[in-house]
Symmetry: C2
Subunit: 338 residues, 2 copies
DNA sequence: CTGTTAGCGCGTTCAT
DNA sequence: ATGAACGCGCTAACAG
């Protein structure tokens, strides 16, 4: 096994000389796009390149070709498991199409988002995938105006090409599940109102409630940031005695929020799945292995990633917003009301 | 606010023409390394560049300069919160030094690791940071032979420049804490024996046990893969009645493992912090907000990241392995034996 | 299919 | 301090 990088990088010229052909012939023989040339010379060149340990200089190549086979991915943060999983899927989908995925984080701050996008664009990515978009987000707008190939995942701004789960249906499934179990006193903790996920999951939840003829007061529908801490404090608020009656079930629009609620429930002496039913969203792997396994709504990350990349690589009709069906995964955290 | 990327990218030449200077003058005026030229012309060029929305073409620049101000980071997986946090810190530290961090995942598979490293190297990163290394790993060895600037984080192969927490001390602190609480029947779930973390945390645990004069049979020291599932199955094994007595305390060498143990404990009807004390490792943010907050060993990720980048950017004496002190964060998951 | 030539956009000689 | 010229490594256009 030879070293990954020889001390003196071998260039295309070296390969050409060693094979006794011109630079362009060598270049063509080594061109990996399209069908590889079958000629004997080409084979020889490839063999020589292999022996010499030739590796194409991506910069020179990109500079000349004007494209990089690289995609930029923007996420709020990687320490959010859903975002990490989303990126991993995008990375995989990109790789299978011969592309490389680069990530940058923005922390849900519009300024940092813009900076991160510029950083990525400065590296001449062929397109951008954003998991950060807000309702009426400026960034997708500028990307459209600048004709930068891009797609939104998980969240949509309502205009740019988007690939995401059907959050309205997901919200509906979650609450419908609780209704079917017999709950009538249900609370909803939804995501930030600047995210399409927050809005749509809440809308779905409301539809399920209305369908069941249940009235839920406003103080039972709370919009907060995604994150365990929010789940904990909101859960505590909902489950404390202050408001008189407590809900018997909570739909948290994110597994992290649900985990926070679990901690709050414990604090109040409630037992998840018995005194309090709980449904989360995203079905991150951890949710199945919690002390009380969490009922959650699973979204098809792989399909979402795949479609998003297609949007970027083969821009079709604009304004296409593709929604994938989510699935409810029932587990022990949700049961009949006592 | 202008579009991020103008439809017709403006080049250095455009700036030069618009400023009425030559290409090289423009190039020098816009050189951001070293001290910026103070001449009036330079100022004018910069102003024009700003107005035109000039952005340096990274490929052309890199090609010419022979360096990219980009670092490659290799992690087993991003969906492991510790790894995501580690990358975020590296990203931050790199950014503060004017560098960009690119990540690739290898899934703890030596072949994929090698491939991922090549992908990164093909993009001419100036250096590599690996969070993936195994004892006697081949990759760091090849990197050394090929004189590729690199550093290992979190794990070390014992040779390449490394920046990590002192895992032996961490393991000691964890078990010492349990001993101090009065536990005498302690089990240890440690990481894979191909990782320095697995080995060192176990060694530290043993030191604490020996110091306390406690004998722990081999079946109470189990080496498994990091991951909730492993924690769950190992926890179940340790806590089932099969072995006669059950341990009153468990040190899990990773917070994920600890969460798995929590699930197993629940299954066996044990109450964490009362019937069973538990200490984790890494202190991921979630650990503080679990239904029973987890006692854990915190490692200084920021310092680790910072030092690793220095290793890569300013290679000093080889074979330097820098270990940072971990801190025990006591929470409710550990208490006196009943 | 092959070789020759030109040039992607930029940074750096080397003169002035 | 400035401008002219060269070349980083590679690919595309052109001719043969």
């Amino acid at each position: 096994m030879e070293p990954v990088i020889p001390n003196a990088p071998v260039t295309l010229k070296d390969v050409a000389v060693a094979s006794g052909v011109s630079l362009s012939t060598a270049s063509r023989a080594l061109d990996d796009r399209g069908k590889p040339s079958q000629s004997a010379t080409a084979d020889r060149v490839r063999k020589v390149a292999e022996e010499l340990g030739y590796r194409r200089n991506a910069f020179a190549s990109n500079l000349r070709r004007g494209q990089t086979r690289t995609l930029g991915v923007l996420v709020p943060r990687l320490s959010d498991t859903v975002m990490a999983l989303m990126f991993e899927e995008i990375e995989r989908a990109a790789s299978s199409r011969g592309y490389f995925a680069m990530v940058a984080t923005s922390g849900d701050d519009p300024n940092d988002e813009r900076k991160a996008a510029e950083t990525l664009l400065d590296r001449s990515v062929d397109g951008l995938i954003l998991a950060t978009s807000r309702i009426e987000d400026e960034l997708p707008k500028y990307l459209r105006e600048s004709s930068v190939a891009h797609a939104l995942v998980l969240r949509t701004d309502g205009t740019s090409p988007s690939s995401l789960g059907d959050d309205e249906v997901g919200g509906y499934l979650a609450v419908r599940h609780l209704v079917d179990l017999g709950h009538t006193d249900i609370a909803v903790i939804t995501g930030p109102s600047f995210t399409s996920t927050g809005i749509a999951r809440l809308a779905g939840a409301k539809r399920a409630l209305a369908e069941a003829g249940l009235h839920v007061p406003k103080r039972r529908m709370i919009s907060v940031g995604y994150g365990i801490q929010s789940g904990f404090s909101t859960g505590r608020e909902l489950l404390s005695e202050k408001h008189g009656s407590k809900p018997t079930a909570i739909f948290a629009a994110n597994d992290n929020l649900a985990m926070g609620v679990m901690a709050a429930a414990k604090e109040q002496g409630l037992i998840i799945g018995e005194n309090l039913s709980l449904v989360g969203y995203n079905d991150i792997p951890q949710s199945a292995l919690l002390p009380t396994p969490l009922t959650s709504v699973r979204i098809p990350l792989e399909q979402i990633a795949s479609r998003a990349i297609d949007f970027v690589l083969a821009p079709t009709s604009e304004h296409e917003i593709r929604k994938f069906m989510p699935t409810l995964i029932p587990r022990e955290s949700s049961g009949k009301p006592q």
